[in-house]
Symmetry: C2
């Protein structure tokens, strides 16, 4: 995405960039303050040492790579949000903006990371964590100032959506999961999706950031789609309804109540028509209702969210 | 809206305000640099002179009221955009930010007003012109940087939407128009809505601003809903389809092609489900498809768009 948008970044935003470090479980902490070649990285081709150096840990790596922006895109660890939280802290403390596509740090350490970033005059941004690059977290402060967000309803988990659609078409639960894996939507272990954890983490992230509510993940009332039988799913369809895994949050006198559970929607509900990786959210504001639908995103949509945060961080 | 959000404006945004001038065809150019009482204005009660002064024209009024922000909310004059354009120019030249809910100045003088505002270090904002306060014009530069907007499809005229729904239910065209007037959606002379002018002006405004295309209103291929008979509308419904007045714009090798015309949508299209004052737009971006739906807005939604622009202008 950085390469694809390079000329626009330079021409329209006056942004030049180089990649001074890359790290993953497989390659370790690789850094070169003079810049690594993006095309070589994309092709998994590494130049001969000593053009680059392998560091021992995140702090050594940050010190050597000296980034102005740090991208955190490791997988979700839903229980603790680690080690992503520690990595983001280290990056902010080293003077780099932090851009994350990982929901864990938002759910487990939003206020701490936000305040740390502020105290350093830096940004902690995470647009890609919910609905990829679709404007959600960046939209509220700028485009919806002074609104009261009373609640929201979302269709936010692609795997569940694909599995339910395939069950409607006649597949068993296991066959439907296999289909979702084959088309690249579901992971090898899709438990977090099927048990509603992915959706619950998204609800919590939205409530914590947009509703300023210190919601814990275990406070989200969560039911996944495992208990639904193909018979139930097809009976609903025959009756003009459709099961969807629906996320909800609502502000009440006792704080925000949040849930994730399968619901039967009538075919007159726009959410009932959404299939595949399409996701959607409806915000209940004091001034109007606002729905946002992201149609059939691929991995490029997540990458775009990181790029958009990058532009917002450095401009 | 200013009164309703007063404590939030002060507490969250550190914005204090007073109304130093109000003008309309009926009351003339009323100004008081010490501030007019908002509650009296809402009640159409005017204090005794000489607490306030009636000016002769917009420049005298601006000079006496000395505003930092000017709100332009006169009715659309679709042929020339006047006198709103001249009023906005005068306001910008006097040193005030200009916030407009009127599409005319955007369609007839966008670049001139944008450049004038820039040259003065001021803002010319107009979020309320399309879909009220729903994030559109404010969303693109901030939340969708570096995207390529290839085209869009919108359902943007409430009157047509209500009239078509009422015709589906069995009313004649004239009865349906009367119904739309009774519920406060259609104006006394609804021609601009029924002939597709309102929708065409919105398409032009979106293409001019978001696609950077100097589209003229007469370049929008425009068909309204007058030619549709109740028989056609009901036959479509019986066949599982629904007529909606659809706006389209698409970037082609020869520039942007734009149209407004009634189209039959299948009931599997989320736009087919939208009724009443609900409006929607789907943007075709290079990174994903993005739909935005504004559910059942009232006049407060337009007022909110002006308030949001006000906050963006002064912060």
């Amino acid at each position: 995405m950085l390469v694809a948008k390079e000329s626009e970044l330079r021409g329209k935003y006056d942004i030049e960039w180089k990649i001074t470090g890359v790290a993953s479980r497989r390659i370790g902490w690789v850094a070169d303050p003079n810049g690594l070649d993006p095309q070589s990285i994309l092709n998994h081709q590494w130049p001969e040492a000593p053009a680059w150096k392998k560091c021992q840990n995140v702090r050594q790596w940050l010190a050597y790579a000296d980034p102005s922006v740090f991208f955190e895109i490791s997988s979700l660890e839903r229980r603790t949000g680690q080690p992503a939280i520690d990595h983001i802290k280290a990056a902010l403390e080293s003077g780099a903006h932090a851009v994350s596509a990982n929901k864990g740090p938002v759910v487990h350490a939003y206020r701490e990371l936000r305040d740390l970033a502020r105290s350093k005059g830096l940004k902690f941004l995470f647009e890609s964590t919910v609905m990829d690059g679709t404007p959600i977290f960046s939209m509220f402060p700028h485009s919806l100032p002074a609104v009261e967000l009373r609640g929201f309803r979302g269709l936010l988990n692609s795997t569940s959506n694909v599995v339910l659609t395939e069950m409607e078409k006649g597949l068993s639960f296991d066959e439907a999961v296999k289909k979702a894996q084959e088309i690249g939507v579901a992971e090898t272990d899709p438990s977090d999706d099927l048990d509603g954890w992915d959706a619950a983490v998204k609800v919590a992230a939205l409530a914590i950031v947009l509703m300023d509510e210190p919601l814990r993940l275990d406070q989200v009332d969560r039911t996944g789609i495992r208990a639904l039988t193909p018979q139930q799913v097809r009976a609903a369809r025959a009756a003009g309804m459709r099961y969807k895994l629906i996320c909800r949050a609502e502000r009440t006198a006792d704080g925000v109540r949040a849930s994730v559970r399968p619901e039967q929607l009538p075919m007159t509900d726009p959410f009932a028509l959404l299939e595949g990786t399409t996701s959607a959210i409806r915000f209940d504001l004091d001034v109007f209702g606002l729905s946002i639908i992201e149609h059939k995103p691929g991995v490029i949509a997540t990458a775009y969210g990181l790029l958009a945060d990058f532009i917002r961080a450095v401009k």
